[in-house]
């Protein structure tokens, strides 16, 4: 079912700051987007990403999680502006949620949203930061373990697998 256009813009990592932050350095952002591999660029604009973030926001509504903030963090991780290992801390600090919730949210993002493109994200992260979470060397990246989508109770496991996306 098509998502409301406003929701799409609100939860899309690509459009998230377009309406609300007119002073954003879009040129810098756009240059970085232009440099991305097509799969990651498509992930930013994908409607499935918006839907995923929307679902995540619904799940954690009681925790005051805001979809736009998650969209920003996801965008920043994809663009390698934020280290992927810092994602739980970023979620925790920016959204004001406790550490466990932040880690759980980060795991959900990595295991479900990033899963189809994880290798490309790892590559970019490694290039930018020279390391990956859970590894003392850059050769063995350790990232939050993927969690099956079924663990998101409110969606009933109805998480769209982007690997099967056309």
């Amino acid at each position: 079912m098509p998502q409301d256009l406003q929701k799409y813009f609100q939860f899309s990592p690509f459009f998230v700051d377009s309406a609300s932050m007119p002073d954003l350095d879009w040129e810098r952002l756009q240059n970085k987007i232009d440099q991305l591999p097509p799969t990651l660029a498509n992930l930013l604009t994908s409607n499935k990403t918006s839907e995923f973030i929307g679902t995540l926001a619904q799940k954690y509504i009681q925790l005051s999680v805001r979809g736009s903030d998650i969209a920003r963090i996801i965008r920043d991780v994809i663009l390698s502006d934020v280290y992927i290992g810092d994602m739980p801390a970023q979620i925790s600090s920016k959204l004001g949620v406790e550490q466990n919730t932040a880690v759980e949210t980060a795991r959900a993002v990595v295991s479900q949203l990033f899963a189809p493109v994880i290798e490309e994200i790892k590559k970019l992260q490694l290039q930018k930061f020279g390391k990956l979470p859970g590894s003392s060397t850059s050769q063995q990246p350790s990232i939050p373990r993927p969690v099956p989508g079924a663990e998101l109770p409110e969606t009933g496991g109805n998480i769209i697998d982007l690997r099967n996306q056309k």
Partner: protein, 776 residues
């Protein structure tokens, strides 16, 4: 005797006996013969045998010498007779000529009528202006000069005879001189008494004496017969000369009458002086025989008259060789005299074995002589005669001089043809030379006389050795750049490499633009330079292009060649500059604009509606072939441009006017249609500028949902993503204060996607899809 068979012994003895029998006539020979006979056991008295042999050889030699004297006398008399008084005042010739002339004069009226009909009905070769010279001119010339044809012919014969007279003065008494000169009796030396010496003497003195004198006799016989025939043939030719002049006025008969008559006439006329020239040398030789120092006798030459051999050989070369060369010099191939003399020559060779000896003497030089003979025939002898080549050039010059406008340039054309022939020969010479010597060879060959030198110059140029100074000199030499020779010269430069003429591309360009003082007037060179520069993509700005075009405009073919070579991307270097040039029409040159559109179409540079409109205007509209090509190419990479352009055209909206929301909506409707049909690829080809437009974004917001936009952005070009980044901020039409739109009937598209579409829009969509080839 062991080792010698009977079969070999018998012929040997027979030869020895024969030689013994044929022993020479003077006492010494008789003695030797007697000795041999005695040695072999024959019972002959040596005096008797000698007398018999002597008698036989003396008889033969006397006969031959008498014949030589007879024919030489005959020859002498014939030529003196015809050079003295056999030309003028020959009644039979005069009367016969008068009859023929009167008869021929009747035909001139007929020719006038033929010419009149030829002109009226435009019959090829028979109009009054047709042919070279024009038929009316040749008619007037022939009608006038036919009355002087006898006098003209007689005068030419007199000239030939006068020339003959020069040589005849040196030949006072032909028969006496030769009879005396070829008296070879007593040439053997005495004193040899051995067998080998005796055989040698017999062979050398008797047999060869007979052979030599026979050849001389045949040569004189041929000359005498010819000199007799010559005068009758010339009389005949004089009598029929009015027919030849009549033929001159009829282009189709000119070759068989006029040309053929002159060929025969010159041939028979001038053979005599040429031949007498060689006879004169022979006479000088014979007369001065006594002054030639004798070759020492003894050893191998024991008993031989070595001096006599030399003397005979050279005399024969002059007599027989002169006959051949004179024929070649006087007559072109295929003439009657060639046929006659071919037979005479054949006869001499067949019946005079000595002719073989003469050929054997010059065997090494035979081919060389033959080639030299042909060369003399073609090129003549410097300072004496001109040869066939010179004659062709002379004729062309006269044709040009009297041929009025029609024959202008004839001399140069003929000269070029001659140069071409010489070039072929020159190339053969060149083939045998190493590459490093060819330049010097061609340079030196330029000093050759006449056309051969010029052929060397042209070949030198063709090989790419010439310089700009050479070109300037050639312009002076050949009377300006527009002469046919100079044009060929320039062609030859082009065949090599035109740019080699210059030190740098910059110099080349400055000369082409006329910025160098002493080459400014070399228009043809500058034209070629511009064409060459264009081919090498060296025309890199609009002013140079325009100058080139102006210079080449007087010759359409050259202009076309130049324009075909031009690559507009080198003249207008960047995409932006090209788009500005088309959009603003700043080039001011339709040809360049057209080429630019052609280039931009292929490079997907016609990427907005205004550019499309200007491009179509340049190529003559969208219904021309070029116009359709432009539209088709745009369809391949951004069909929306065509959709928008058609909409603007349909509704009379100029390209600089913004589209109303309604119109935008219609375009977006088309786009939405594509979305519904999963034609995202086509949509992604829309220009960034289109997507940047606020109204476009408003329409998108009104029409698209998030899923559509996401699909649209998937793998979209950077420009499109950049343009659509502001989509969330785009004001909705209602927010901008636009009048609330009437609810339009919504059409369900087969895929299920709903879009705001009117019936009118649906109709337009079908048209567009049809144009795009989506539906039949």
């Amino acid at each position: 005797m062991r080792g010698i068979s009977t079969k070999k012994l018998i012929p040997f003895l027979a030869v020895v006996i024969l030689l013994a029998v044929l022993v020479f006539p003077h006492p010494a020979k008789a003695t030797v013969a007697g000795d041999i006979a005695d040695f072999l056991g024959f019972n002959f008295s040596s005096g008797t045998l000698g007398a018999i042999v002597n008698g036989i050889t003396t008889l033969i030699l006397t006969f031959v010498k008498t014949a030589i004297s007879f024919f030489a006398d005959l020859f002498d008399k014939f030529i003196r007779w015809q050079t003295d008084n056999a030309i003028y005042g020959v009644v039979v010739v005069d009367q016969s000529w008068t009859i023929i002339r009167n008869f021929v004069n009747m035909f001139f009226i007929l020719i006038l009528i033929i010419m009149a009909f030829g002109t009226i009905f435009d019959i090829p070769n028979y109009g009054w202006k047709s042919g070279q010279p024009p038929m009316i001119v040749s008619f007037l010339i022939s009608a006038l000069l036919v009355n002087f044809s006898l006098t003209i012919g007689q005068y030419i014969i007199a000239v030939a005879n006068g020339l003959s007279g020069v040589f005849l003065k040196q030949i006072v008494d032909v028969s006496g001189t030769f009879a005396q000169g070829f008296n070879i009796v007593g040439t053997a030396t005495s004193g040899s008494t051995d067998l080998i010496s005796g055989v040698t003497k017999i062979i050398i003195t008797e047999i060869f004496a007979i052979i030599f004198l026979s050849v001389v006799m045949l040569a004189f016989a041929a000359a005498a017969i010819f000199s007799l025939v010559r005068i009758f043939v010339l009389w005949f030719l004089l009598i029929i000369s009015p027919i030849a002049w009549l033929g001159y006025s009829l282009p189709n008969l000119r070759g068989q009458t006029w040309s053929e008559w002159w060929k025969q006439f010159f041939c028979w006329c001038f053979f005599l002086p040429y031949y007498l020239f060689f006879v004169m040398f022979a006479v000088i030789f014979v007369k001065n025989r006594g002054t030639i120092p004798p070759i020492p006798s003894g050893g191998a030459t024991a008993g031989m008259a070595g001096t006599d051999f030399l003397f005979y050989a050279l005399s024969l070369i002059f007599l027989i060789g002169g006959l051949v060369i004179a024929r070649k010099m006087a007559c072109a191939s295929g003439t009657g005299i060639k046929t006659v003399f071919g037979k005479i020559e054949g006869g001499v060779r067949k019946y005079a074995p000595g002719a073989s000896y003469v050929r054997a003497i010059g065997a090494g030089a035979k081919e060389g002589l033959k080639a030299k003979g042909e060369q003399i025939q073609e090129k003549g002898i410097p300072g004496i005669i001109g040869g066939a080549q010179a004659e062709r050039l002379r004729q062309a010059k006269w044709t040009e001089r009297f041929g009025f406008g029609a024959a202008r340039g004839e001399a140069e054309r003929v000269k070029l043809a001659e140069i071409e022939k010489e070039s072929t020969k020159l190339k053969q010479e060149l083939q045998g030379k190493p590459a490093e010597e060819q330049k010097d060879f061609l340079h030196d060959a330029q000093s050759r006389r006449g056309v051969a030198g010029e052929a060397a110059l042209f070949e030198y140029v063709k090989q790419g050795y010439s310089t700009l100074d050479d070109y300037k000199e050639a312009v002076k030499k050949y009377g300006g750049e527009n002469s046919a020779l100079m044009r060929q010269y320039l062609e030859n430069i082009k065949q090599a490499k035109l740019s080699d003429l210059f030190q740098s591309p910059d110099q080349e360009l400055r000369i082409a633009r006329g910025q160098v003082e002493d080459t400014r007037d070399l228009i043809n060179l500058r034209r070629e330079l511009y064409k060459d520069l264009a081919k090498r993509n060296q025309i890199s700005d609009v002013p140079v292009y325009k100058e080139a075009k102006q210079l080449l405009s007087s010759i359409p073919a050259e202009l076309k060649s130049f324009l075909d070579s031009i690559k507009p991307e080198y003249i207008v270097g960047t995409k932006e500059a090209r788009q500005d040039a088309i959009r603003d029409r700043t080039l001011g040159d339709p040809d360049l604009e057209r080429k630019l559109v052609e280039f931009m179409k292929d490079k997907k540079e016609i990427n907005d509606v205004q550019l499309r409109q200007e491009a179509l205007a340049i190529v003559g509209g969208k219904n021309t072939i070029e116009g359709r090509n432009v539209i088709n190419e745009i369809n391949k990479f951004n069909p929306v441009i065509n959709i928008e352009a058609d909409l603007r055209e349909e509704r009379g909206i100029s390209v600089d006017q913004p589209l109303s929301a309604d119109n935008r909506k219609r375009i977006i409707g088309e786009i939405a249609d594509k979305i519904s049909e999963k034609e995202f690829a086509g949509l992604r080809k829309m220009s960034g500028k289109f997507w940047e437009d606020e109204k476009t974004q408003q329409a998108v917001r009104q029409t698209f949902d998030g899923d559509d936009i996401a699909q649209l952005l998937e793998n979209a070009p950077k420009e499109m993503k950049r343009a659509l980044k502001d989509l969330p901020r785009a004001t909705k039409p209602s927010e901008a204060g636009a009048a609330p739109q009437k609810e339009e009937p919504r059409i369900i598209i087969p895929s299920g996607v709903t879009t705001g579409r009117t019936e009118e829009t649906q109709k337009s969509r079908e048209e567009i899809l049809r144009e795009l080839g989506k539906i039949p």
